[in-house]
Amino acid sequence: MFQVRIHGRGGQGVVSAAEILSVAAFIEGKHSQAVPSFGSERMGAPVVSFCRIDDKPIRLREPIMEPDALIVQDPTLFNAIDVFAGLSKNGYLLINSQRSIKELGIANAIKLPEDKVRLVPATEIALQHIKRPLPNAVLLGALAALTGVIQIDSVAEAIASKFPGKIGDVNIQAAKAAYELLSHNNQEELTC
Amino acid sequence: MSHQQVKFYQTGTLTVGNRLLDAAQRTVQATIDRSNSLDSGHRACQGCGEALGARYAIDTAMRETNNKVIAANATGCLEVFTTPYPETSWTLPWIHSLFGNAPAIGTGIAAAMKVKGREDVRVIAQGGDGGTTDIGFGCLSGMFERNDDVLYICYDNQGYMNTGVQRSSATPGGARTATTMPVGPEPGAEFDKGKNVPLIAMAHEIPYVATASIDRLHDLEAKVKKAMSVRGARYLQIFVPCPLGWGSAPAQTVNLARLAVESGIWPLFEGEYGEITSVTNIRKQVPVEEYLKPQRRFAHVVKNPKQLSAVQAIADRNIRKFSLLEEQE
């Protein structure tokens, strides 16, 4: 079973991200389960969502305590809550930021091999393609590239099913852009 | 006027029937084949105004719809005295659910009829003033606001008679009830409290609102007739004296209703979409004292000049507000 935990703020599509990810897995014939953090959060409040992917039916209903992958849609959360809680030693980490880990001042918090950590300017990419600061689809593209747990095409199809038409198209472009970015650029510029 | 006033010198259109009127102008109650929706054998007190008002209203609705009416009834006297197991006095399809939900029950029935394409079947929800102006008020306002195709009829006897005569928001100032006893410096129910639901109903701008009284049968039937001729939410509040709760003689029931109208205490009017469209004039104005005197619940008021003039002031205000003494066009 592969477990993904997504952190962000209300309005950034954190819940949609988990849903799209689960649909993408579903498209690939896998079993998957997406669950939002339950609550009455309003715009801007910290939000979490979860997605489990497995080859057999998923019975587990607990929140994801030990994610295999962590997506942080908003770096300002680092000061708010313990984003990294339970992240397994060889898990993946995706952060939406133009800055470096040092600049973000989280170097000590991260105990992962460099090839599992990526910083992606998701908001910028989103603004480029979607014309709105919605990093979620972008980061899913990045996740596909970083982990290979799902195919970028499945992500695209899932986005299309969630957002038919124009909005879907631009989101797919953005996701693919991030996918390309992570597939071809060397680690250097994306980690330090 | 809400109906054609035929002025026969003998009894005009004031009596129930009149052999000199042509059939069309006679009341439903005068007909030999009226439906008697609320039939004999019910357990209402002697001279019950509510039993009378209910039969007047429902029989008319039955006549207007060719006997296709379903009624929803709130908990209260009307429900208790008509349907104690194993006997029912209702001759039309009728349901009692709860005290506060009759309007919603009506909405549900109307929705069912709509979806089944039985829009020839009309729905009436009904209750006493307690079930209408107090506990059922939320559901009533909701039914109005959605403009559901339901006629709601409130039989107003100005208190919780079923539970032993307690104060409701329709209880008039000064009245003695079990919860507003005639003791202390302000004996009886306090003045300047309570609500005027007909006017609140009009504020919802529903198609039709009217007040009626069991002493004005032609007027009452004309209003039910009118109500049945339109679709959407409609409200009718009928004044029904209660010998038990008011401490009046059973034989005086209709007469008290008459005095309430003639004194201006109970203004009769119609409204459509929030506008008052007609008023039934006072015939022979009487001082409120004539209305209050035969009722034990006002015994202390009649002896108390301050309260007496307060009641008269209310009547005078009604007469001004609805111009009950002016000739209507």
Partner: protein
Amino acid sequence: MKNTKPFAITLDVGSSLLNKTGSWRTERPVYVDRLPPCNETCPAGENIQEWLYHAESGDYKKAWEEIMKHNPFPAVMGRVCYHSCETACNRVHLDDAVGINSVERFLGDQALINQWKVKPGKSTGKKIMIVGAGMAGLACAYHLRLLGHEVTIFESSSKPGGMVRYGIPKYRMPNEKLNAEIYRIEDMGVKIELNTKIEDVLATKEKYGFDAVFLSIGAQNAKLINIKSDESIPSLSAIAILRGIEDDIATGLHGHVVVYGGGNTAIDVARSAIRMGAKSVKVVVRKSQEQMPAHYEEIDEALDEGVEIVPFHSISEIKKGQLILEKNFVSDSSSAKPTGQFVAMEANVVVQALGQNVDESLLDNLDELRLEDGVLGVDTHLMSAIEGVFAGGDMIPSERNVTVAIGHGKKAARSISQWLHGKFEKQSKKHEVVDYAMMNTWYYSDAPRTIRPMLDVVRRTSGFAEVVGDLDETNAAFEARRCMSCGNCFECDNCYGVCPDNAVIKLGAGKRFEFKYDYCKGCAMCATECPCGSIKMEPELI
């Protein structure tokens, strides 16, 4: 379809009929017919409420037939009856009395226009002799015919009708109407022997083999007083003058006319004098105008026409073409007292209208019968001291007016018929009279009495044209509809409507209602809301 309904919470319609709430009752309502005040006061015993009921729905013939059960002279009554019924009418308390008299007059005239007739009863072979073709005699004859008896009337005058013809001027009672209603009676087979003065009643009875006799010669001898006079002014009798007018004989009324007396006859003469061109007409009465016996309507109309009333005076002497009047002092309603103060009054003729006496000559051959106080005594069946000889009208002790006379005629006819059958029936007990308080008059809508259009004074004074105008087809019905049907159900359906327990059965038009005592809880709402007071609450035997 099998019953799938849940137990107890769902019930079948009609089940409450098993619950007989009639057992709650301590009082039970009952329908009653009470006596309306109009009927009670009518001297002719008409069932006024009943004929108005038919007139209300425009069935004028039925209404007329109802009158004819009691009174053969609706057209006459509608003009000369002093209608005590209207004074008694309960509607007075609401707005104004029902114009019963004018409706009756309308119905009477309708009958004449449409020539409605009445059939005599099946012949009994009995023969009755009537003396005097006044209202009493004619009414008696009519009712005897209804009962199937043969009737012959002997009348001394040249025309039938008595005081109505000879005592009431044309302007109040046009001849053609009177003649028509009398003819209708003759048409039923009544023989009238005119110009025949009966000298010996019993002999005549014997001679023609009559089975019974009715005396109704009236009181037609003027009561004249001797006024001290130098004959400088003629002093005439009112009766003679009115008779003269009828027979078109010169009356001697001219110049300044003074009428002495305050009764209807006095007013009739005074108003006739106006019409005959008198310079002035004064009516001298001993007491106040209010105390005059004449009917107030007559007095009012007379004043309108220019008649002058001179109250509190007596005529004491006629001297040198002048009347000497003495002032009277009237303490209370008691008799007038002379004061010794005198005044003179200009006059060309004095008319005495101080009352009439019965002609005693009839009794000369009837030893058993004597007048007491100027009238003939009779028993409750109007039979005199002589078996089979009955009497009525102005000649017996009672109020003297046309309607009373007609009432006597009816009563006598029925008594005679019973006497002929061997025994008098007992008087059936009268119903309780409806009092205004027994009614719920809120239900009667307000309506002004349809005022009888008065001909204007000038036209009236110019001749003997009829004074009082007619109702027509429509307003007659509407006037009738003002009747409150006191004490008698008119099927307004109130009881049927206001019963909270459906305990009243409507039996259909004309059949009235019944109570379902199984369910009636005895709330008495029906009795309270009955407009005409024809439901009564009676205690249950418990």
